[in-house]
Amino acid sequence: MENENLNWNKIAALLASRKVVPSTRVWDLIQERLPKHVAQRRFRIRTLLGIAATFSLMVSLTSLWALQNKSPESRFSGYKFAVRSNDAESAAIRSSVAFALKLYAADFPLDEHPSR
């Protein structure tokens, strides 16, 4: 009986020794479903914030440029006009610049700023 078991054990060992390398699809499937590592999550949030801040700043600068080119008088004092005027248009620009700066500040807090 012991010998018989040994033989089936040999068959079992042959079967158990089989290794098949899975395709890369399997690891991709697993990664999609795994909770993300903290660093990966932070990186993703920062990327989104960075894109939003850049977009916001571009809109502000474009508005400023448009404002400067509105009338010949304001062409050389456009920046002053945009910053100091109480005009509704310049107020909107100021708030959008402030918003962009806020986004950058959130993206790169002072203690973690990439320049440091």
């Binding site: 033989n7 089936w8 040999k10 042959l14 079967l15 020794s17 089989r18 290794k19 098949v20 697993i30």
Partner: protein
């Protein structure tokens, strides 16, 4: 320090995986996935289905790693999860096991298989050729070492059904491998009531 040296200590590997370290998770997958895919293919021969089961099993392993107690081996724990995933998949396919009461007083399964000259490929093909029910019970009993009581509980069948499935599976494997079959006479007595899946 290389990745292999870093994670050769199982405790470090588990702790890193629990901290959702992507490198540790990838290392665990790379190390064990080929073995487990081989295991799954013994139950589910279709490779696409087997890979889906493997992905499901690893997701479960990573999400339940905090419940692993270091009393047993990590390999054994993961293997059990993988086998359970296979059975879950097969249960969804609604495999029907016919009960065979005639086998109630069957003697212990005799076998005179001489496995000395067998190659792994031949054995694998013989097992793959088995009907699903035979194959599942054969794998659970002969390869994984589960007792009949546990197999019966896992598959929702009677212990006798499990025993008869194993008997027929062994006989079929011996035939397929062209080995002398000492169970033929016994099987003839229940030939008309063969329980197939």
């Amino acid at each position: 320090m290389t990745e292999k040296a870093l994670y050769s200590d199982e405790t470090v590997l588990i702790r890193s995986c629990l901290q959702l370290d992507p490198a540790a998770q990838a290392y665990l997958f790379r190390t064990y996935a080929p073995r487990f895919l081989g295991l799954i293919l013994r139950y589910v021969p279709n490779k696409t289905d087997a890979e889906d089961i493997l992905a499901e099993a690893f997701c479960r392993i990573f999400s339940r790693l905090n419940t692993f107690r270091s009393q047993g081996s990590l390999m054994g724990w993961m293997r059990r999860i993988t086998v359970n995933e296979c059975l879950l998949f097969l249960r969804r396919k609604k495999i029907h096991f016919e009960s065979t009461d005639l086998l109630e007083n069957f003697p212990e399964i005799p076998s005179s298989v001489d496995a000395g000259y067998l190659d792994a490929d031949g054995v694998r093909k013989a097992v793959e050729a088995l009907p699903t029910g035979y194959r599942i019970v054969f794998n659970l009993y002969v390869v994984e070492g589960y007792p009949h009581q546990e197999i019966a509980a896992l598959l929702g069948i009677s212990v006798n059904t499990s025993k008869s499935q194993l008997l027929h599976a062994k006989r079929r494997v011996q035939t397929l491998l062209g080995l002398p079959n000492s169970t033929e006479k016994l099987s003839e007595s229940v030939g008309s009531k063969e329980d197939s899946i």
